[in-house]
Homo-oligomer: 602 residues x 2
């Protein structure tokens, strides 16, 4: 049975099922491994599935929430992983027939991932893949990864599932009362990272209850046009004697259905405490509702471990901090050779304090084992920095090592147009949910003219889109040559930014500092080039954020290009220019002239 | 006889005649008024003309060099002005027939013009006009204004001649050994100002001799594509007893002819000491030569009293200093009400020291008699400032008062697209040899979109060209709205700069400071807008040159746009950024960070 979940969700709202665990716990004693019941009491599981199908579920979830080897190990049942999952899927399949979808349910391993715990990304991928393959063997139609608390683990689960079969993937995470996952990610970041992983439906499950669920769905919908799923608990559980009680009756929960749909959820279900009765009410409510199709989102997004940066469409211009690059910094190169990330961490913090939105990490220097150092640097930096990471290397192996370690939705910096490189980098970006930075550079080098650079960009962008990348995740850097060595080509970069923006509609990036490479008095040239580039439509400069003049140019340009409405940020944040009130020009000039006499240099 | 001198000069080189005064002085006693000889000894004059025609002259000059009323007054013969000039022209006409052209010769009045002397511009125009009308009455084919020592007087003579008849005008000035006129103008400025007056042939006469003449013609040709005339003396005169002796024999002078032609002269003749023998040799030399057609000049020019500023085609971006404007300066308004130019002069000097290339003068404030104050301010400023002037008013009367007073080739700032205004301003620009700044503003105001502003620009530029203006003398200002009041329109100005440059090929100007009008912390916004505009192709910003950040942006942008080859000026002149040698980026950054801790503000 092959389904296109996304197409189906365009037509109608889909109703999942309610709790399996709650139902099972009613039918059995405590402390049993729930997945073992597939083997020991198949009828119980079958019966629950049947109740949900009868209640109106279009999709039922296999009894395999704790079915990874790592989780089963806690019951000493790790070696049953294939048997349990095959069975779980086949029970559901039998009940579902060909009218109802079977979602292979995948839950957390119960282990903390690196760098907080000891579970490596690769181990996590393998354990999820093992479970997913068994679920496919048992006959599931899609995967439903749920109750995830850590985006890293969710990413590993998605990759593991996708490696098992080309089936749709739903992934929902759990949020606390602060609307953050246990690991701290907000709903925007969750949806940003998961949609980048090419998850078909993103959402939230479990947690506090339907009120909070509406708020989370709303936040996800504001920044994403991916289909959303909501599976709330029947309120927060409380203990009454030895019984766990959920206060939300089917009717009380049913009252939230229309709000959830209008807010943007197009897949509904229930989590802890919900029963076939709840699903029956939901089904009735849904008959009167149409799915609410999202408006296309035109801006781009990158994410750090728990927060998201928006690019384009009037959002503040993000600065990519360029300083973690050992090319011209001997001390950084030396630190990287000894696998010491301390200097990089300090530099990252300083750049963030100076206003960087994204931290570029380049570990390239002779004698550095980059496949080790890159993930080490990324993990160390992400311990203290919430901003998205730009993984800066031309070596696919180093990039992949970084992509496995990085949290959030990073920028893959970068690929050239060389076919084999482009192919590898697009695959990596898609697999790990990264945005891709394309340099207008092919085997013949950097073309001189803006038009030629545009042509390379066009080839790269078309290739990436044809191979499944979202246009909003493709960035082009038409490359800055140095004014010192190639003065006559300087403006070609700026023209290329304009052409690429206008004709291809992708985001643009420029490493602007290179303009003044090798020249003294660099910052004046770089600042001029920066403002010109922003005027031509540059979305993200790669720059030294610690230079106040550059920040001034960016914050000034944001006012001019309408990215800082009413100059609010410019006026509030800009401390470089003193704090004159609204005065006439001459008075300000006179005052500035006075002040300038006091200071020697910029 | 109607001639198109310019067309004729495209075909062939034209040969004028030699000295009249030298020949006359041989035939008569000293201290006579030379123009009186037309009446007293017609045959003598006729005979000289005949000798020149026989020697091969294509054009002979009337014996009317001192024929203005003001000059004749020194002999007490002012009331003979009409008689002398009519006669001078009719003698030449009789000899010339219809094969040879008669050039109505006009020389200096012998009086110093304002502000050095007491002769007003209007008086000068009138006296030249009176002579020119008489020469036309006597039958001249064109005017030849020569031996001018002061560009202001030359301008008055050109206007007076053009008011007399729609005939071609040649104007040649005299240069000293420093290659400057008596009043100090260099050859570039002379050709710039006179070609802007729509003089058909510009050149040099009299002076040191043919060597210097070649150098002057070469300098003029480098910056102009107007036809050039060279009338050298036969060397410097020296006294031998009571005789004035010129050392250059016809053959020695003839040896320079081919160099003069290859350098760019297409009208040749001789001045003091040259005789029909000289012209005969010239004629022989010319038979073997073809005229050397100039390459079109693509840059634009503005001139101050004695020096020229180049705009476009890779020349340094000129700053128009905006500070002489009483709009928001109470003390300046007060000074102008009492007709006191002192503050304006001080401001002009300060702006020049800060690097301004052009000084804008606006005298508009309530209670100011601008028709008096504007010329007063211009003259006072030009006493101390060599830069071109931008005459800033929307009132044609104030503009004309300024145009009469101003030295050099000013910018007429400005006209709107309102038909009556545009018509008047184009006429004034043409009459006084000014460049014209067109605001993209019509009776409906400033359009919002760049395309609409472009359309207004197109209408204005087409009108100006159709009415005889050179495209290189037309500047368009697509207007800067304030980011405070109209943030969403900010980038329209920059787009308009680009459209106007690309599609119309005219120079662009922007009053960039207005972008931050009414906002605090202005300079960051203005600097960003400035760099963006320069990146989009802006030729001349109107700005406060005393703000170092703006100068830094301009000098940086000049490197980026190729106007500062190898960043020579940027590195030499830019003192804002300290004097780091070529260091790696991080070291510079670290040093800058240290320094910034010492200074509070920009
Ligand atoms: Zn739950
Ligand atoms: Zn002479
Ligand atoms: Zn002469």
């Amino acid at each position: 049975m092959s389904i296109c979940l996304t197409d189906r969700l365009k037509q109608s709202i889909m109703l999942g099922d309610g709790a399996m665990g709650t139902m099972l716990s009613e039918g059995m004693k405590e402390a049993t491994c729930p997945e073992a019941i597939n083997m020991t009491n198949e009828k119980l599981v079958e019966n629950i599935h049947q109740q949900y199908v009868k209640a109106g579920s279009h999709m039922i979830q296999t009894n395999s929430f704790g079915g990874t080897r790592l989780k089963l190990d806690s019951y000493g049942l790790g070696d049953q992983v294939v048997a349990f999952n095959v069975k779980a899927a086949s029970i559901a399949r039998k009940v579902a027939g060909d009218k109802v979808l079977v979602a292979g349910n995948i839950g957390p391993t119960g282990k903390l991932m690196e760098p907080m715990g000891s579970l490596t990304f690769e181990e996590a991928v393998l354990t999820f893949n093992e479970q997913a393959k068994a679920l496919v063997e048992g006959g599931c139609d899609l995967f439903l990864i749920e109750t995830m608390a850590d985006l890293q683990e969710a990413k590993a689960a998605v990759i593991g599932a996708k490696m098992a079969a080309d089936l749709p993937v739903i992934c929902t995470m759990t949020f606390d009362i602060q609307e953050r996952t246990l690991a701290g990610a907000d709903p925007e970041t969750v949806v940003t990272v998961l949609e980048a992983m090419e998850v078909d439906v993103v959402g939230a499950n479990c947690g506090v209850g339907p009120d909070l669920m509406i708020s989370i769905i709303k936040r996800m919908r504001q920044v994403s046009d991916v289909p959303l799923m909501a599976q709330a608990n029947a309120g927060l559980p409380r203990l009454e004697g030895s019984n766990t009680i959920y206060d939300m009756t089917p009717d009380r929960m049913g009252a939230y259905v229309s709000s959830l749909v209008s807010t943007g959820a197009s897949v509904l279900g229930g989590c802890c405490g919900t029963t076939p009765e709840h699903i029956k009410v939901f089904s009735k409510e849904l008959k009167m509702l149409r799915s609410n199709q999202p408006k296309p989102i035109l801006f781009s997004k990158l994410a750090g471990k728990d927060q998201t940066v928006y690019v384009g469409c009037g959002y503040q211009t993000p600065m990519i901090g360029e300083n973690i690059n050992p090319t011209s910094r001997k001390n950084l190169a030396e630190a990287f050779r000894t696998l010491n990330p301390k200097l990089a961490v300090e530099e990252a913090k300083a750049q963030i304090e100076a206003g960087a939105s994204i931290i570029d990490i380049n570990t390239g220097a002779s004698g550095v084992d980059q496949e080790v150092m890159m993930p080490l640097a990324i993990q160390a930096v992400q311990k203290v920095v919430r901003a998205p990471i730009s993984i800066d290397s031309s070596d696919p192996k180093v990039i992949e090592a970084g992509l496995r370690a990085v949290q959030g939705k990073p920028l893959l910096n970068s690929t050239t147009a060389k076919p084999e490189t482009l192919e590898q980098m697009v695959k990596l970006a898609k697999k790990y949910g990264a945005s891709l930075l394309c340099l207008t550079l092919d085997s013949k080098g950097i073309p001189e003219s803006a038009e030629e650079r545009f042509k390379i960009a066009e080839i790269m962008v078309n290739y990436a889109i044809q191979n499944g990348m979202n246009i909003r995740d493709i960035y082009v850097d038409p490359l800055t040559l140095t004014a010192g060595a190639q003065q006559r080509l300087v403006m070609e970069s700026i023209k290329a930014v304009q052409l690429i923006k206008e004709r291809l509609g992708v985001r643009t990036v420029l490493g602007v500092s290179n303009i003044s490479h090798g020249l003294p008095k660099r910052s004046g040239l770089t600042a001029s080039f920066l403002a010109m580039s922003l005027g031509a439509g540059l979305d993200m400069p790669i720059i030294n954020p610690r230079e106040p003049l550059f920040r001034l140019m960016i914050s000034g340009s944001d006012v001019l290009t309408g990215k800082d409405h009413n100059a609010k940020r410019y006026l509030e944040e800009n401390t470089l220019l003193g704090n004159e009130g609204v005065k006439n020009h001459q008075e300000i000039t006179d005052e500035k002239a006075k002040r300038e006499n006091l200071s020697v240099d910029l």
